[in-house]
């Protein structure tokens, strides 16, 4: 069974129906979180066209994420980044058999409703797009479609889970081709998990209460997370992943899988690179296979990348801080 910590039974997004004489229920936490469990050890690839989605599927992507522009182009273009064209999302849904995700702006309830109506398989409330609400995230329990959210710390991850996120991606800095921030954040979340696990193991309830106050989430969610010693939902790494070795390294840090944004389709050898990143993610425990995967790509064709210290726009900081 999977952890259902923080579940709100009877949330609005949970729908009971009768089909013929059979009662069924949709949009439960088991179904939403369970969907994310099916993606584990996989690679979700950012795509902007049907052709890219088909390349991703053939390469072995576990799902595709549809955007209007890849993160590195969002960075260059400036202006306001919004959810992708619905027509393109639908066209992609008609041409690949793997799940299709799409991004909505942080806090934009109606972009989310539009994506829910479009029947995408998962909605990413994403800082890659321009936040629509600087003070609130979406109350995700109201939707039947599952959500994934970004997080830079355990506190952020738990707050998103409390709002109904069925999956977390630890943030990197999108569109940079630089994996440093992704590594920093996954290590930070891991450290924080170890810390609360040790508080739990020493049976110090008062300290767990202190942590819940610090994290600004309910005590129960902190206690259940501390007990299992990991996030109660599937956690992927994201942001700045450009090579097979990047992917394998993040898997070795305990991520359940990875999201690749600009790293594949902004590289000049996208088709080979897509395949190579999947191979490295699947076989990360076997360094010789990661080497073979790394050999499939040409470093001269990698996304040039950006130094995360001198960025004008830090996407990871966007959206409400609570």
């Amino acid at each position: 069974m999977i952890p259902l910590s923080g579940d709100i039974p009877g949330a609005k997004g949970t729908i009971c129906e009768k089909i013929d004489s059979n009662s069924i229920v949709r949009g439960t936490s088991t179904l939403k979180r369970g969907f994310a469990h099916m993606l584990k050890n996989g690679v979700v690839m950012d795509v902007t066209t049907v052709e890219q989605a088909q390349i991703a599927e053939e390469a072995g992507a576990v799902s595709v994420m549809v955007l209007d522009k890849l993160p590195s182009d969002v960075r260059k273009a400036g202006g306001v980044a919004r959810t992708a064209s619905i027509r393109i999302i639908e066209e992609i849904m008609d041409h690949v058999t793997i799940p299709v995700m799409a991004k909505c702006r942080i806090g934009h309830m109606y972009e989310a409703k539009v994506l829910d109506e479009t029947n995408v398989d998962m909605i990413d409330e994403s800082e890659v797009l321009t936040p629509a609400d600087e003070y609130h995230h979406i109350w995700k329990w109201d939707y039947t479609t599952p959500f994934v959210n970004g997080a830079r710390s355990l506190a952020e991850a738990l707050r998103r889970i409390e709002e109904g996120a069925a999956m977390i991606r630890t943030k990197g800095e999108p569109g940079t081709g630089n994996v440093a921030e992704a590594i920093y954040h996954i290590k930070k979340v891991n450290e924080e998990l170890r810390a609360i696990k040790s508080i739990y193991d020493s049976d110090d309830k008062q300290d767990l209460v202190r942590m819940a106050r610090e994290f600004k989430v309910s005590y129960d969610l902190v206690e259940e997370t501390a007990k299992i010693g990991r996030l109660p939902v599937v956690n992927f790494a994201a942001g700045g992943i450009a090579t097979p070795a990047d992917a394998a390294y993040l898997m070795s840090l305990g991520c359940d899988g990875i999201f690749v944004g600009s790293g594949i389709f902004k590289a000049e050898d996208a088709q080979e690179r897509a395949r190579a990143v999947v191979l490295a993610t699947t076989f990360w425990e076997e360094p010789d296979k990661v080497k073979d995967a790394q050999k499939m790509i040409d470093e001269r064709q990698s996304l040039l990348g950006l130094d995360v210290k001198n960025l004008e726009l830090k996407m990871q900081d966007r959206g409400s801080t609570v």
Partner: protein, 205 residues
């Protein structure tokens, strides 16, 4: 009787959940055995039983081709090793699979289970559902079926026993040593299906 060894194919998907459900089944049944996560040919060749978990069948198939695991698994099943395929695992075991929307795909299949599969048969994620399923032929009268972008069986060959249907669609089948479900028992508390697979493995070895 020697200790049985059951593997969970750890290429992609919800491996851990199946691992834990199988461990719990063995301990509840009082059966002495081990459960391991398998990926390499050497690991697969030592098994008495294999679970192919839920995930994306296209990915599990393609990645099993890379190291030749697909042939080893096929060889083991054909020589009598029991296998339990769940959702993507059911698709991967089949002889023929079509997507409800996209139609024909040339995804790699094990070509063992004599059925025709309709992938994404109940729709997309928003249409995913939980419903009560009855599998009388294996003595499970009530089971909470968790269907996630689930496939169904649209045609069965002569050696295939139908274990359960939902709304006229076939969602669980058995063909000799091959057990397959369109839904995910590993996501629920109920380990009765994993227990019946463990018993199948024990009776074989």
């Amino acid at each position: 009787m020697s200790k049985i060894k059951i593997g969970v194919l750890a290429v992609q998907g919800d491996v851990t959940e199946n691992f834990l459900a199988t461990m719990a089944s063995m301990s509840e049944l009082g059966i002495d055995g081990t459960v391991i996560q398998v990926k390499t040919l050497e690991q697969i060749s030592t098994l008495d039983g294999l679970i192919i978990p839920g995930g994306e069948s296209t990915v599990i198939g393609q990645m099993s081709l890379v190291n030749g695991a697909i042939n080893k698994i096929k060889e083991k099943i054909e020589s009598g090793m029991p296998v339990f395929g769940i959702c993507a695992g059911m698709v991967f075991l089949s002889k023929n699979s079509q997507d409800k929307v996209v139609g024909n795909t040339d995804q790699p299949l094990l070509n063992i289970l004599d059925v025709k599969i309709e992938r994404n048969s109940f729709g997309r994620q928003k249409d995913s559902f939980e419903a009560n399923i009855s599998m009388e032929p294996i003595g499970i009268s009530s089971f909470n079926g968790v269907f996630i972008r689930a496939p169904s069986v649209s045609e069965t060959g002569s050696g295939v026993e139908i274990l359960a249907k939902f709304n006229e669609k076939i969602v669980a089948v058995k063909q000799g040593n091959v057990l397959a479900t369109a839904f995910h028992p590993e996501l629920t508390k109920d380990i009765s299906l994993h227990k019946s697979f463990v018993k199948l493995v024990e009776n074989q070895s």
